[in-house]
């Protein structure tokens, strides 16, 4: 009987006759998981885990393993294309990279001259380790307008953390917290930032107490010591209620608040507005449960809050985050070993410096779309999407004529899809870089074939806050595909940025690593580097905020004219704020619960992943379904004042009878007519993007809390 050892690369090679094993780091979500790439005769045959990886320890997810199905997919874009028919006609012609880049550069130079650089919109979707390269290009071009997911995903965590405590606090899983409160995050399924699900799974298995705040039951919630099934959109009220209780019961860290918090007394006064009985009414949670959770979190020696995107896609986005930071701080867990740590990166050039934000002139920065309305977002170079659509459609405050989207599919992922589509149709010129044709790419003039993570050298996770940088190594070349950074390296030279780019992008990687005294070839041999881990740095250095303290009372928000203390605001569209709507739209709609195989709009054309999840589904409580005559697996219509879509009903007892949970980002790559059925099940046909529905500081759209109706689809209707 042989001895078994997992992830045994040597034996894999021996048995299957692979020619080569390349160590790398996946980027099917944000990145982070170490892998072994097995190659034979020039082709990747298998993706396995790398047990030496400090983030995931060799564990993988469906997306990572299925990466080869993107790389070698028959529909993969493999050379640049130019559109030869009307927008959306699907008529394309193959062109060379030179022609594609020359055309884009000529348009950029032209619009910049005629309308100013601000008339050019750069865009990316969720973070794919390309952020700082795109910002670098935009800042050098002189446009302050980079449209990302940053207004409603991770950007708020960065922005609110920086103004409140100087950097993002990350749960210190490596030191085994005694308690983890998972808030609006299902990181064992989702595409989390920094640590992946394995870290939490191991912590919980080793005995960390678990509190889960989620309107939907997940396995994490089911397994938790306490599951707080709150009314969607009431997170800030819950967090302020917990703070109220922790203060009343004197469960907070008195030394910490006395010496390291700015505005403690004002905060104590503010939380008096949130007594537990009132919070219970707002959140639908029993008073005892709120108290029990607050006590469990506060009394744990070490505790962390694993926060996720769900709390950011609401009108209370910034205050949700800030109240959670207050909870971390007041319980003494901020920057504490086993608590929530402000990890320091290695001494490489950081994402902000590489992004060349300082090279954007003050004059151009002042033109950032929505910068005067959403002032927290504007300060962090983030724009609210509606500001971009308005500039295209109404030419106010100035016209936007051209866009270049890299790894982004806004037709599916941004609120109010009808408006997004209209705006993209109106753009005079659009370039899109992606792996496949998409509903967004079909509206472009030029489409560029992007490399997957298997086809690039890069410094992975270099913009994340766990302190690690990870080597990503190019394993294959597919067609003429180029990485996002390689294309911008070449485009930059065509729009007058020659001195800021390199012969090839390896020069850029060397530049990032330069302060460490190594180059990329040397880094590749090292696998990963972590910054020095130090705890409780505030005791000697203070927090990196204007007052040097944890600013529960934010001097920055105050300066920008916002309430400096967190407060709860009722969702813009809820049974309480809009009772007059509930006749027609009686249900609260939450959207965007994650499926393991998909990353937003991605992967629906990959057989291994689509097989797991062939259709979009909408979760509905069995009592509600029975009352409405909806059966499991039946196609239903979901409707809001903005539109109507169809998804398949999934009878699900883990959701409140008054709440409906629909999936996001659905399109049908197999439907070649009608631009891949972009309207059919796209939940953003229903979402609202009006300015008054957005977080006033961050510009976050409330894609998770709105009102809807749901009913069986008529026979034969579509």
């Amino acid at each position: 009987m042989p001895e078994f050892k997992y992830s045994n690369a040597e034996k894999e090679v021996e048995m299957y006759g692979y020619d080569e094993v390349i160590k790398s780091h996946c980027r099917m979500c944000h990145g982070g998981c170490g892998v072994h790439i097995y190659k034979k005769e020039g082709k990747i045959e298998k993706i396995g885990g790398d047990p030496d990886c400090p983030i995931a320890h060799g564990t993988l997810c469906p997306k990572g393993i299925a990466s080869t199905q993107i790389a070698y997919h028959p529909d993969r874009l493999t050379h640049p294309l130019k559109r030869v028919g009307p927008k959306g006609s699907g008529q394309w012609e193959k062109i060379s990279w030179d022609e594609a880049l020359d055309t884009i550069a000529e348009k950029m130079n032209g619009y910049k001259k005629e309308y100013g650089a601000e008339s050019i919109l750069m865009g990316y979707g969720t973070g794919r380790d390309n952020e700082s390269v795109i910002y670098r290009f935009a800042n050098l071009l002189g446009t302050p307008n980079v449209l990302t997911a940053g207004h409603l995903c991770y950007g708020p965590r960065i922005s609110t953390s920086v103004i409140t405590c100087g950097s993002i606090p990350v749960v210190d899983y490596e030191s085994q917290p005694d308690c983890v409160m998972v808030w609006g995050n299902n990181l064992v399924i989702a595409n989390s930032d920094e640590y992946k699900g394995e870290a939490l799974a191991v912590s919980v298995d080793k005995g960390s107490k678990l509190i889960v705040v989620d309107p939907r039951m997940t396995r994490l919630a089911a397994r938790a010591d306490i599951w707080l099934q709150l009314r969607p959109g009431t997170d800030t009220a819950l967090a302020l209620g917990m703070a109220n209780y922790i203060i009343a019961e004197e469960l907070y860290d008195k030394e910490f608040v006395a010496n390291h918090v700015h505005g403690w007394d004002e905060f104590v006064e503010r939380v008096q507005d949130y007594p537990i009985d009132k919070v219970s009414d707002i959140t639908w949670l029993p008073e005892e449960q709120i108290k029990e959770a607050a006590r469990m979190f506060a009394e744990a020696d070490t505790a962390g809050i694993q926060w996720g995107v769900a709390i950011e896609q609401q009108i209370n986005c910034a205050d949700n985050n800030r109240t959670l930071i207050a909870l971390m701080g007041m319980t003494g867990n901020l920057d504490k070993k086993g608590g929530q740590v402000l990890f320091e990166n290695a001494k490489n050039r950081n994402a902000s410096e590489f992004g060349a934000h300082k090279l954007l002139s003050k004059e151009q920065r002042a033109k950032r779309l929505g910068g005067d309305r959403f002032r927290l977002a504007g300060h962090f170079a983030i724009i609210n999407p509606k500001c971009a659509w308005d500039a295209i459609l109404t030419e106010e405050p100035y016209p936007v004529k051209m866009a270049m989207f890299i790894s982004s599919n806004p037709v599916l992922t941004r609120a109010n899809a009808s408006e997004v589509y209209k705006a993209l149709e109106k753009l005079e010129f659009m370039a899109v870089a992606d792996f496949f044709m998409t509903p967004t790419a079909e509206l472009a003039d030029i489409v560029l074939p992007a490399s997957t993570w298997l086809e690039m050298d890069y410094i992975g996770d270099f913009w994340k806050r766990h302190g690690y940088i990870l080597a990503r190594r190019k394993a294959i070349q597919v067609g003429e595909c180029r990485s996002d950074h390689e294309m911008l390296n070449e485009l930059g030279k065509r729009v007058g940025q020659e001195e800021y780019w390199w012969d090839d992008f390896e020069g850029g990687l060397d530049y990032i690593l330069e302060p460490l005294g190594i180059n990329f070839q040397e880094f590749k041999k090292m696998d990963y580097i972590r910054g020095e881990v130090n705890y409780e740095k505030y005791k000697t250095k203070g927090f990196s905020t204007p007052t040097g303290k944890l600013e529960i009372y934010s001097t920055m928000l105050e300066k920008w004219g916002y309430d400096p203390l967190p407060k709860y605001v009722e969702p813009h569209e809820s049974p309480i704020s809009k009772p007059e709507m509930t006749d027609k739209y009686p249900f609260i709609l939450v959207t965007g619960a994650r499926s393991p195989g998909f990353f937003h709009t991605e992967n629906r054309q990959l057989p291994w992943l689509r097989e797991q999840h062939p259709d979009p589904f909408v979760e509905i409580h069995p009592d509600t379904a029975r009352r409405l005559g909806i059966s499991n697996g039946q196609w239903v219509s979901i409707e809001s004042p903005r539109g109507k879509v169809r998804q398949k009903a999934k009878i699900f007892e883990g959701i409140h009878p008054q709440v409906i949970g629909a999936q996001h980002a659905w399109w049908y790559p197999e439907k070649k007519e009608g631009n891949y059925g972009w309207k059919e099940s796209n939940i953003n046909m229903l979402t609202d993007n009006s300015y008054e529905s957005c977080d006033p500081a961050m510009g976050s759209t409330s894609v998770r809390t709105l009102l809807c109706n749901i009913y069986p689809e008529k026979q034969g209707a579509k």
Binding site: M1, E3, F4, P62, I189, A201, M217, A221, A222, F652
Partner: protein, 166 residues
């Protein structure tokens, strides 16, 4: 001889589905055929509370008490090895489906294209070379897939559970 089984600690499973794709990558089963399949159990009332588990379904091999599929097959297509691995030989399967209803865990699939039955063979081609079965090869982020002797695994899982609220 040491007995080999595939055992899932369902309490620890979060339903990430990595095992399904790891199996696809190794064994290349057709679209619609999952030799290991993650199902949902709930949310439903269990022991007086709403609970939600995942139910990972694959052949248990040495942990299957009676291996009724072996005896149900009229063609000796299914055999049990000395190490407890239950192997279905797809080349000799006629697709009579006699084994399908016999399986206590519903782990035998019918391939709609070829009309023969398929099931997990515990990657015996890997096991014989000293490699772990694909799904058990540390892909699972919950570390809930165990391969090896059923008694040893049961002890290991029990030991792990003692860490909770220790």
């Amino acid at each position: 001889m040491k007995q080999l089984a595939l055992i899932i600690d369902h309490y620890a499973c979060y339903g990430c589905l990595a095992c399904e794709v790891a199996c696809k990558q190794e064994n290349g089963a057709d679209f619609g055929v999952k030799l290991i399949q993650v199902g949902e159990d709930g949310p439903r009332q269990m022991n007086g509370k709403l609970d939600f588990l995942f139910d990972v379904n694959a052949c248990l091999h040495a942990a299957c008490e009676d291996t009724p599929c072996v005896y149900a097959c009229p063609d000796d297509t299914i055999s049990i090895r000395d190490d407890g691995i239950v192997v279905m030989n797809e080349r000799t399967c006629t697709g009579c489906e006699a084994c399908v209803p016999e399986c206590p865990t519903d782990a035998i699939r019918i391939n709609g294209n070829s009309m023969i039955t398929e099931k997990c063979n515990l990657c015996y081609h890997r096991v014989d070379e000293g490699l772990m079965p694909a799904c058990a090869d540390n892909v699972c982020l919950a570390h809930c897939i165990y391969f090896g002797d059923p008694d040893e695994i049961a002890a290991e899982i029990a030991q792990k559970r003692t860490l909770l609220r220790a």
